[in-house]
């Protein structure tokens, strides 16, 4: 059937989207966690053309004859990985498939994830096989500004088909990773910061330049406008709030520096990593900014030496909005899986409901895509994960992942 549809698509010569060729699907779940209301025992989710047409009790609702029927013990919204590098940091970890960091300069906000994302990298498929339907992926921590992130589905066709938001966030790193690893060109002058204070000074200087650029760009006299500058243009979008800054900061002083920067330039930021969050909970809470917390099982070393498996529970208790992430891995394993990270967080004080929200609706809210995904409700994207047991149990399986109505079921995972 898939092959036939693909052939039809080729014959017609038109660019059919994934949604258009997706046959309607019905999912019957013994327990359906919609996230838009209480969990439904014996629930039903209907979908057509990539959208959910019904999510509610199965009782009294007939499944239309043309729907393909899937059954599962437990159904959740498709999982959202709120900060990844998958698709840029390829599976082989060889120079030719590592596009998450360009080390030629410390400040490169103009680098777009959409120009690098490999929708068919096996790690994207791997994440999808564990229920992940949406990624906020892009340039990695490790340079003062490494580039941008994008929000993309894991359907694995092409970036053009799968992109949800091509320019989600500007990726900034404070602390050890940007200071020690963002090296300037060999033999060149030291362009990257050598200390924490220098890093912040460089960022401030760049943001002031961008403020000036934005001011001149908006003057009435066209002849007085500056030539386009992709780098400053991107930062100007950050300054006017149309694009947010994703600031990776683990140490408490780096978290506080991020909040200080946000105050000075009136930035909308999202805190990333935050190993030391328990030391500055009040400050984070007062700022109102959300946190995309480090993977629960991340390694504790250097900047992350204080990280804890129960930090998610502490953020929840403090009322700080947060989501979970796979993050960036430079070696083995080349990517983490948010399903697993949420599972350990759930078992270390966060609890099932909050852990599930941290990789679905709460993540969608932080990424600004809760209008279309993150919960199961009529009109939303048909993004679902199907399980044969408690999604967080080590020994349960993902039996299928549905991405915008397309069913991926390559055996239980």
């Amino acid at each position: 059937m898939k092959r036939l549809l693909a052939t039809l698509s080729l014959l017609s010569g038109s660019a059919l989207t994934a949604a258009e060729i997706t046959p309607p699907v019905a999912v019957l779940g013994e327990m359906v966690h919609t996230l838009s209301g209480p969990a439904i025992k014996d629930g039903l989710v209907l979908m057509r053309d990539g959208r959910i047409t019904y999510a509610g009790p199965a009782a009294g609702r007939a499944v239309p004859a043309d729907h393909r029927v899937l059954r599962a013990r437990v159904v959740t919204p498709g999982l959202i990985d709120a900060r990844a590098t998958a698709g840029l940091s390829g599976i082989l970890n060889q120079a030719q498939d590592q596009d998450m960091l360009d080390r030629s300069a410390p400040l490169q906000p103009e680098l777009r994830a959409i120009d690098a994302f490999n929708a068919r990298d096996p790690l994207v498929t791997w994440l999808r096989s564990f229920g992940v339907t949406t990624l906020n992926t892009g340039h990695a921590p490790g340079a003062l500004i490494s580039g941008q992130t994008m929000i993309v589905r894991t359907a694995g066709r092409s970036v053009e088909d799968d992109v949800v938001n091509p320019a989600a966030m500007i990726a900034v790193s404070l602390g050890g990773s940007a200071v020690s690893r963002a090296e300037g060109p060999p033999g060149g002058s030291a362009k990257s910061p050598g200390t924490r204070a220098k890093a912040v000074a460089m960022l401030r200087a760049e943001l002031i330049k961008a403020q000036e650029y934005a001011r001149k760009r908006d003057v009435k006299d066209e002849t007085k406008r500056p030539a386009r500058d992709l780098r400053l243009e991107t930062l100007a979008r950050g300054l006017d709030g149309s694009q947010r800054f994703l600031i990776t900061a683990h140490r408490q002083q780096d978290i506080l520096a991020s909040l200080r920067l946000a105050r000075e330039f009136n930035l909308r930021i999202v805190l990333d990593g935050c190993a030391d969050a328990p030391l500055v909970l009040e400050e984070i809470k007062a700022s109102g900014f959300p946190v995309i917390l480090h993977p629960t099982m991340a390694r504790a070393s250097e900047d992350t030496e204080n990280l804890a498996m129960d930090t998610a529970a502490r953020l929840a208790a403090a009322g700080i909005p947060f989501a979970l992430q796979s993050g960036y891995e430079s070696y083995v394993p080349k990517t983490r899986v948010v399903l697993f990270e949420a599972a350990v967080a759930a078992a270390r004080g966060l609890g099932f409901e909050r852990a599930l929200a941290a990789v679905t609706l709460d993540a969608a809210r932080i990424l600004g895509i809760d209008g279309r995904t993150g919960s199961l409700a009529e009109g939303k994207d048909a993004d679902l994960a199907l399980f044969d047991g408690d999604p967080f149990e080590y020994t349960a399986h993902v039996t299928a992942t549905v991405v915008a109505g397309r069913v991926f079921a390559d055996g239980p995972r």
């Binding site: 599976i91 970890n93 096996p122 790690l123 328990p278 804890a308 498996m309 759930a346 080590y394 020994t395």
Partner: protein, 449 residues
């Protein structure tokens, strides 16, 4: 406050000195579900220890508790053998340097810090016996060390002694890409060269062994001592097990080929492509210590890593162990590896053996650890529930009848959960700036968080 502090200090001192020796009076745990590994689980079980050994284990109905024994109620808990990790890098382990790809004379023994935070975290994960290995960037990167994770003051406190008094450990070898480097130096540039260099060393060792045998007791004729060749002779004589890093299926076959040629005992480690050659591994009768990682790749030879490796080996009839490769995976979550193996098709019984007795056999320590049986070391863990559930926590870890981890202890809990201070090494009692602070915070009902 001063009185409270004094009391806390006294308590800390007593706790520290009380830890030094195992109980002389029998200690019985009652009411727990006991998974002895050596037999079927017992629902209402009794475990009795004395003098660091298991005195008795079995169903409550048929296991008499000696008069005068201290009895602890463990209803609702699960007790199983302390976990054995057949491949780890805890303790700040290091091995060979960059001088040469073959350095069997280098010992991990000379590099371990017994107070290292990673050892505390391994205890928190329920690990009681561990094979600490040097790295895999060499064909032979040195001698590994089998440790019992006692709360030692010096490395000698953690060592395992063989009957002849020597220190138990293996020899770390590796093939595949990690030990291959750019040409020009002493390191191999290809797989065939890697195998040739290793064969050359073992041929030398065979000659060294023959010269020693010919010399007999004649000191004049004995060849000059050679630390590297001495070690390889131990391997040739089967007195030391080769612990061999190998990922790709062809690299696995190369190890089996070398083993046939030189007849050494070997354990295959990682075996990312084991599923492709499970029949060959099983036919060779060689055990595998498997790693479970959260995704394939990260380097070329793990491109085809499969979660199903354990299941494939088990079905083929091969012996399967699991390991942390800490810090590649976290010692505190070692049971998670067993559970993920089950997720990918292994039997739950096989997966629990893979983190206990199977690993013990791979270290040649099955007579002392790996199951709960009368006479064996009193190494066990107390769990809050099913060992394969994400919601289960290791609550206590005991080595030789001494509790080395207790989740209810604030410092132990810090190592178990993480947080500020969890990266710092264990401090001696009543020593050093900072430890007094810990005690004050403990007296105040927590560690300041």
């Amino acid at each position: 406050m001063p009185l409270r502090l004094l009391a806390a200090l006294a308590a800390a001192f007593l706790a520290a000195s009380g830890n030094a020796a195992a109980q002389e009076k029998p200690l019985a745990f009652t009411g727990a579900r006991i998974i002895p590994i050596a037999g079927l689980p017992v629902e209402n079980g009794v475990l009795i220890l004395q003098g660091g050994r298991i005195l008795a284990v079995g169903p409550a109905a048929s296991t008499a508790i000696p008069a005068g024994a201290e009895v602890r109620d463990a209803r609702g808990k699960v007790i199983m053998p302390g976990l054995v990790d057949s491949h780890s890098h805890i303790g700040g382990a290091s091995g060979a340097d960059g001088a040469s790809p073959v350095q069997p004379e280098v010992r991990v023994l000379d590099a371990i810090d017994v107070r290292h935070a990673s050892i505390q975290k391994a205890q928190a994960g329920g690990i009681t016996t561990v094979n600490v290995m040097p790295g895999s960037g060499h064909l032979i990167s040195g001698q590994t060390l089998y440790l019992k994770l006692r709360d030692g003051r010096v490395i000698d406190d953690l060592l395992v002694r063989l009957p002849d008094g020597s220190i138990a450990g293996g020899l770390k070898m590796a093939n595949g890409t990690n030990s291959i480097r750019s040409p020009g130096g002493p390191f191999p540039g290809s797989r065939a060269k890697s195998a040739a260099l290793v064969r050359e060393q073992f041929v030398k060792a065979q000659e060294y062994q023959a010269r020693r045998e010919r010399a007999g007791n004649d000191a004049e004729k004995l060849p000059a001592r050679d630390l590297a060749l001495e070690m390889l002779v131990e391997v040739l004589e089967g007195r030391r097990i080769v612990q061999h890093h190998t990922h790709r299926h062809d690299d696995i076959l190369t190890v089996l080929r070398l083993r046939r040629e030189f007849g050494f005992k070997v354990v295959l480690h990682h075996v990312s492509e084991a599923a492709k050659v499970a029949a060959e591994i099983a036919a060779a009768g060689v055990p595998s210590s498997v790693i479970i990682i959260d995704s394939p790749g990260g380097k070329l030879e793990t491109r085809d890593f499969a979660l199903e490796n354990c299941a494939a080996l088990e079905r083929a009839g091969a012996e399967v162990g699991l390991h942390t490769d800490d810090s590649v995976t976290d010692s505190r979550l070692f049971l998670r590896s067993a559970a993920l193996a089950v997720r990918a098709g292994m039997t739950p019984e096989g997966a629990l053996r893979a983190v206990t007795i199977a690993n013990a056999r791979m270290l040649g320590m099955e007579a002392r650890v790996g199951t709960l049986e009368t006479g064996k070391d009193a190494d066990f863990i107390l769990l809050s529930g099913d060992p394969l559930s994400v919601y289960t926590e290791v609550e206590q870890t005991w080595v030789d009848g001494v509790k080395v981890f207790d989740l209810s202890d604030p410092t132990d809990r810090l190592y178990a959960r993480g947080g500020p201070g969890a990266g710092e090494n264990r401090r001696p009692p009543l020593c050093c700036f900072g430890s007094a602070w810990d005690i004050i915070m403990a007296a105040n009902g927590g560690n300041g968080q």
